[in-house]
């Protein structure tokens, strides 16, 4: 993809909305369904105004029944539509998990390759808004575990603006994670939306001393950490995984082969995380390039607490990323 030549400043929320609008405009088969996406404008106001613009047939409010409406989305996809199903937050996704894991992910296989399920399921995710243990999950690893799904994570404004459009080109089910805590954050997005690349991990900053491999809410924190590290002469490369399944091994291996050191950063708790898998792949594919043990900075293994300061303490912050990266590179 050629680099976008012109960019404008948008909030993460507005970028998501513009991509929804583009998707609805580009293809008549595309429609949005989800709880409160229409009249209310979306639980997080991402689809505000779209009902008026596109009508009730394409912006569809659904009952509070995740299993039911995700199943309906799968059915629509099987019948030639390109549904975008919004699950309000990842916290409620387990109610639809059977539909996702047992139907969407398996039907191509069960039908001997006859039935593609081109459904896109969006859900907001993560912590940072003091919603306590039941509403602050980072469950990307749960979905990334399931064969038959493509799992994407929107860690930047650029991807908020573009990733949905790419996802809709996929013939098979795609899960997209958006981050509630980033909705109001402003950032640069390209105005050129025509050239949408197929999705791989992306090097967001190049460096030669250490690869910081992350996704989602970890991307901007890692970039901020890399900027700070640069001031003490440590050149960190920041890789935004973007695709949590299937993992873009090639980009990871190329980066670690260059830097010989890796720090993995994610909000999800450490055990059986995306980082666990990335770490294992590094061992398998480029062990002899490693000049230091691969380290991980992940979520603390507790139910997420309510108070802000404890919430902050549960996930990797910029300062920790700087400290651990320094330890790996400079041994102090």
């Amino acid at each position: 993809m050629s680099a976008p030549s012109v960019s404008i400043k948008l909030s993460y929320r507005e970028a998501l909305k513009q991509s929804l609008r583009d998707a609805l405009k580009n293809d008549d088969r595309v429609f949005l369904m989800g709880e409160d996406v229409g009249r209310y404008g979306g639980a997080f106001a991402v689809s505000k105004g779209l009902l008026q613009e596109f009508g009730a047939d394409r912006i569809m409010d659904v009952p509070l029944s995740e299993s039911g409406f995700v199943g309906a989305g799968i059915g629509a996809a099987l019948n030639g539509m390109r549904p975008i199903v919004e699950i309000m937050t990842v916290n409620f996704s387990l109610l639809a998990f059977d539909q996702i894991a047992n139907n969407a992910a398996t039907l191509l296989h069960m039908s001997g390759g006859q039935l593609n399920v081109p459904v896109v399921i969006r859900m907001s995710c993560g912590i940072g808004r003091q919603l306590a243990a039941q509403h602050s999950h980072s469950w990307e690893p749960l979905f990334a575990h399931i064969p038959g799904l493509k799992v994407l994570s929107i860690g930047t404004h650029e991807d908020a603006r573009l990733m949905l459009l790419t996802a809709l080109k996929e013939p098979d089910p795609v899960i997209i994670f958006e981050y509630t805590a980033m909705l109001n954050l402003e950032g640069e997005v390209p105005t050129d939306t025509i050239s949408v690349d197929s999705i791989y991990a992306k090097v967001r900053r190049t460096g030669k001393d250490i690869s910081i491999i992350t996704y989602g809410a970890g991307v901007y924190k890692s970039l901020a950490a890399a900027a700070e590290l640069a001031q003490i002469g440590v050149e960190a490369e920041v890789i935004d995984l973007r695709v949590l399944r299937p993992l873009d091994e090639k980009t990871i291996v190329a980066s670690v082969t260059k830097t010989h050191r890796a720090l993995l950063v994610e909000d999800a708790c450490q055990s059986i995380s995306v980082s666990s898998e990335v770490s294992a792949r590094i061992m398998e594919k480029c062990f002899y390039e490693l000049d230091a043990p691969v380290l991980r900075l992940c979520g603390v293994e507790v139910p997420i607490p309510y108070p802000k300061h404890l919430e902050d303490a549960c996930i990797p912050q910029k300062e920790q990323i700087v400290t651990v990266a320094k330890k790996i590179v400079c041994h102090d």
């Binding site: 062990f287 490693l290 000049d291 230091a292």
Partner: protein
């Protein structure tokens, strides 16, 4: 088991940098084998072992500064190793390598890979990574040093040698109250004897006058042991007579290698030793034994116009014997005046350790010994 420690390569040496291990744990060594190279002010010196045996763990890493007396490795006898093997219940299993603890290196996979590619022994690399792990940088450093060994020293060999001489000579003039004696010797007997000897010898075995002179000094010292000594908290006589011989370098500076047990060597053996050590000095490829344990120094300026040398003692020794050039001079003998090849012999001695009378006895004895070169 014998502890092998950093030897003192001259009394003025405090430490040296280990530059290379020539052995690894488990290697079988014989007395006189070179096991390491160290860098002193006198350049790179080969370090020899003085016992047969099997090398244990290498306890000093490349480029470490190693003070004299530091334990560098241990040498196990074959018997010790055999007993170890029996104890461990593998009595009948023939072991190629002795049962010596071998270190598992804490090194990154990349460091190990590069070390393997470049043939670097990781036991010699100092790790600077987390918990002392060896990183790529540590290995790269050793690779760079091995490919450009001189890159590490900022001073040239010449400058280092100059500094070493300066330090030793300053100390000498500051601390040692020298007294000087001098005598003349008719060298015709020695030179005639040499000419006869050399006719019978092949080119490679020819003798120079310095060989019988060194032997004569060694024999005289057997009788006058107070000059074969060190001054360290009082006079310490030395049992072996190890003669330090001043070799000047073509590029400037001097190095003083030792001829060990010179009193027990024949004149021919002394010449052979001289040939070996002088060529090692001139190529700056010295061995540890060349530089250790000198008990007195001889300097000879025989090739110029100099007749008499007033020497500066090399501390902590207590005497220095000097030879000028052999020149034809008028000589009275048995009431007759003739022309003889004459050598001026000087003695500089430490007045704390001996008195003029000791020096007089020594020079007189030396002069008499040189009258009968065939008996040397």
């Amino acid at each position: 088991m014998i502890d092998f420690r950093m030897p003192s390569l001259g009394a003025d040496m405090e430490s040296a940098f280990l530059r290379e291990w020539k052995v690894k744990p488990g290697d079988v060594v014989k007395r006189g084998d070179i096991i390491a190279e160290v860098e002193t002010q006198k350049g790179i010196i080969d370090i020899e072992v003085f016992n047969d045996g099997i090398i244990g763990d290498l306890l000093v890493k490349i480029d470490e500064k190693v003070p004299v007396g530091t334990l560098m490795t241990q040498i196990f006898s074959l018997e010790e190793v055999k007993t170890e093997v029996k104890k461990s219940g593998e009595a009948e299993v023939p072991k190629e390598k002795p049962n010596i603890h071998l270190e598992v290196h804490r090194a990154s996979p990349l460091a190990k890979r590069i070390a393997a590619e470049k043939g670097i022994d990781l036991s010699l690399v100092k790790g600077t990574g987390t918990d002392g792990a060896i990183t790529r940088e540590d290995v790269d450093k050793v690779v760079v040093e091995q490919t450009s060994p001189k890159a590490t020293s900022t001073k040239t060999a010449g400058e280092n040698i100059r500094a070493a001489v300066a330090a030793a000579m300053s100390k000498s003039n500051r601390e040692i109250p020298h007294y000087y004696l001098q005598t003349k010797v008719d060298m015709s007997g020695v030179l005639n004897w040499l000419a006869q000897e050399n006719k019978q010898r092949g080119v490679k075995d020819r003798l120079l006058p310095i060989a019988p002179l060194i032997k004569a000094v060694a024999k005289a010292l057997v009788e006058i042991p107070d000059l074969n000594a060190w001054w360290e908290n009082g006079l310490q006589r030395k049992s072996g007579i190890n003669i330090g011989f001043v070799v000047s370098l073509r590029t400037g500076g001097i190095i003083v290698p030792a001829i060990h047990d010179a009193d027990k060597k024949s004149v021919g053996e002394i010449m052979q030793t001289l040939t070996d050590i002088i060529s090692r000095v001139r190529s700056l490829k010295l061995r540890s034994s060349d530089l250790s344990d000198s008990t007195i120094t001889i300097t000879s300026l025989g090739d110029g116009a100099v007749e008499t040398v007033y020497g500066v003692i090399y501390p902590p020794q207590v005497a220095l014997v000097s030879f000028g050039g052999i020149t034809d001079q008028p000589w009275a003998d048995n009431g007759m005046l003739g022309v003889r090849p004459v050598l001026n012999i000087g003695l500089a001695a430490d007045h704390r350790a001996s008195d003029g009378n000791t020096g007089n006895l020594f020079l007189t004895l030396l002069k008499n010994l040189l009258k009968k070169p065939d008996l040397l």
